[in-house]
């Protein structure tokens, strides 16, 4: 994101307007904190809940981390196989296409039965959510390596699949892997709330949302946690983009932007 300096603060104005509008509507139009608490009340709730917020975020990030690490380390080798070897693709693609449309939430009973009420069970649901986007984007990257680059590799001494994958296909596929991972992170984060809903522990943003606040009809707490869910995801995405796009994919600049 390289905006000219003049436009750098552009996003601030609409954001401020939206928040003011929220405050105003909640206060003067709705007038019922059980339906829509005011923005200022929500901010204050975050302050009240400060003892809980940090452990909840960390627990959710733990679940997220488990799921994403699993998804990435399972999807990448599979993507290399499916993208590079036509036969592997033909053999495995039907299985993938049957499993892919099953919503991650449908795996919850399976996760509980297989793994029990543990952090890993929550991680498993996130794994299901993140796995397919990472896999599909990554194998597309490996599959679409231009023939001329592969042949250039061969002519310059890359004999055998191992070298070609390492020196030609993998670097070529890296942007697709990054995109897939980013999409996978998005889907995975959406699964966090559901994954914690069934009580794998006593902490977690999703856990808190459903087990504590919802039943107490604490709308201000609920919305506070919703905002935190959004903000944490935003930060994670920004950090990822910074490291991957600015550092790893410098060479892409001319092509994309």
């Amino acid at each position: 994101m390289r905006l000219p300096t003049k436009e750098k603060g552009l996003w601030l104005v609409p954001l401020a307007i939206a928040l003011l509008l929220w405050e105003f509507i909640a206060w003067y139009v709705i007038r019922d904190p059980l339906i829509l608490p005011r923005f200022s009340t929500v901010i204050f709730s975050i302050y009240i809940l400060r003892e809980l917020v940090i452990p909840d975020i960390l627990t959710s990030l733990l679940h997220f981390g488990i799921g994403l690490a699993l998804a990435f380390s399972a999807a990448l080798p599979l993507a290399i196989g499916m993208g590079w070897f036509r036969n592997v693709f033909k053999a495995i693609d039907p299985i993938i296409e049957i499993l892919r449309p099953i919503p991650p939430l449908a795996w919850i009973p399976v996760a509980i039965l297989w793994i029990g009420l543990t952090h890993s069970a929550a991680g498993f649901i996130i794994f299901i959510g993140a796995f397919f986007p990472i896999l599909i984007d990554s194998y597309t990257g490996f599959r679409d390596v231009p023939k001329v680059l592969v042949e250039t590799g061969k002519v310059l001494g890359c004999i055998g699949d191992k070298k070609l994958i390492k020196y030609v296909a993998f670097p070529y596929a890296l942007p697709s892997i990054a995109t897939g991972t980013r999409v996978g992170m998005g889907v995975g984060w959406m699964c966090v709330v559901a994954a914690e809903m069934f009580g794998v522990g006593n902490y977690g943003l999703g856990f808190r949302l459903f087990q504590d606040f919802y039943f107490l009809h604490q709308m201000d707490y609920v919305i506070a946690y919703m905002l935190i869910l959004g903000l944490v995801a935003l930060c994670v995405d920004r950090v990822f983009r910074y490291f991957v796009e600015e550092k790893l994919l410098k060479w892409k600049k001319g092509i994309v932007k």
Binding site: V148, E151, L156, C158, Y172, W251, I255
Partner: protein
């Protein structure tokens, strides 16, 4: 046996949806060491196919290709190739692109950097060695591709219309540079083009091909001393001769069913 490269009765057919397509028919060709051979012919006559066979990227259906007394069985860095389309690795800087073949060979950082810089200097891109391909113009990209092909010190250089996508002036400059490099490095060069001017300016010998099926019609030695003047009488005579040959082939091809 003082031939660098020898093609004996080489044929190549492609299996396409419409049946068998005879791309090359009974090609016989001998190339001397340090010779600059241009291959000229109409689009689709099999020039690229011929170079790919010599590079070892594809296999003839019959006949044999013999390089330095040994039959060609696969790609190898002793035959450098410059492809018709852009073939730089976009994720590598100019320097890293040129170093590629040496890296694959397992050469140490410092040694390969030294060699790469020498060839970058040779193609006149010293200031651009840390640029990514997207920052280069088409002609510059092809020069990098040439430097990269030279860096592994191949005995023979296969060039497939390397200047096809650059403007006339740049093309002239690149031709001069190439002759300079050729003189300095004493390579055997097979240079595909469909420009008569280019062939007459560059070649020791021009091989004329005709289409459907692709075959060698005639080899024409050009014994004008270098540097040649593009507009001199002798050059024009050869140009005339070549054009006659080519148009004769074209009219023959039209009569064929």
């Amino acid at each position: 046996m003082n031939h660098k490269l020898e093609l004996r009765n080489v044929t190549k057919t492609f299996n396409t949806e419409g049946g068998e397509m005879e791309a090359l028919e009974d090609i016989n060709l001998e190339v001397k060491p340090n010779e600059f051979l241009c291959i000229i012919g109409p689009s689709g006559c099999g020039k690229t196919t011929l170079l790919r066979l010599i590079a070892g990227l594809d296999y003839p259906n019959s006949g044999e290709i013999i390089l330095d007394g040994k039959e060609v069985i696969g790609p190898s860095p002793d035959r450098g190739m410059v492809f018709q389309e852009f073939s730089l690795f976009p994720w590598r800087t100019v320097l890293k692109n040129v170093e590629f073949g040496l890296k694959i060979r397992g050469m140490k950082d410092k040694a390969r950097r030294e060699i790469a810089e020498k060839y970058i200097e040779l193609v006149g891109l010293r200031e651009f060695e840390n640029c990514y391909p997207y920052e280069l113009s088409g002609g510059m990209k092809q020069r990098v591709a040439i430097a990269r092909a030279l860096a592994t010190e191949p005995a023979i250089l296969l060039m497939d219309e390397p200047f096809g996508s650059v403007d006339a002036q740049t093309r002239n400059i690149l031709q001069e540079e190439l002759l300079e490099i050729w003189k300095r490095t004493k390579k055997t060069v097979l240079f595909v083009t469909h420009s008569v001017d280019e062939a007459v300016y560059l070649a020791d010998r021009v091989a004329v091909m005709s289409a459907r099926p692709g075959c060698l019609v005639k080899c024409l030695g050009i014994d004008i001393p270098r540097p040649r003047k593009r507009t001199s009488m002798e050059v024009n005579e050869f140009r005339e001769k070549l054009l006659m040959l080519l148009s004769l082939e074209r009219s023959k091809a039209c009569i064929k069913p």
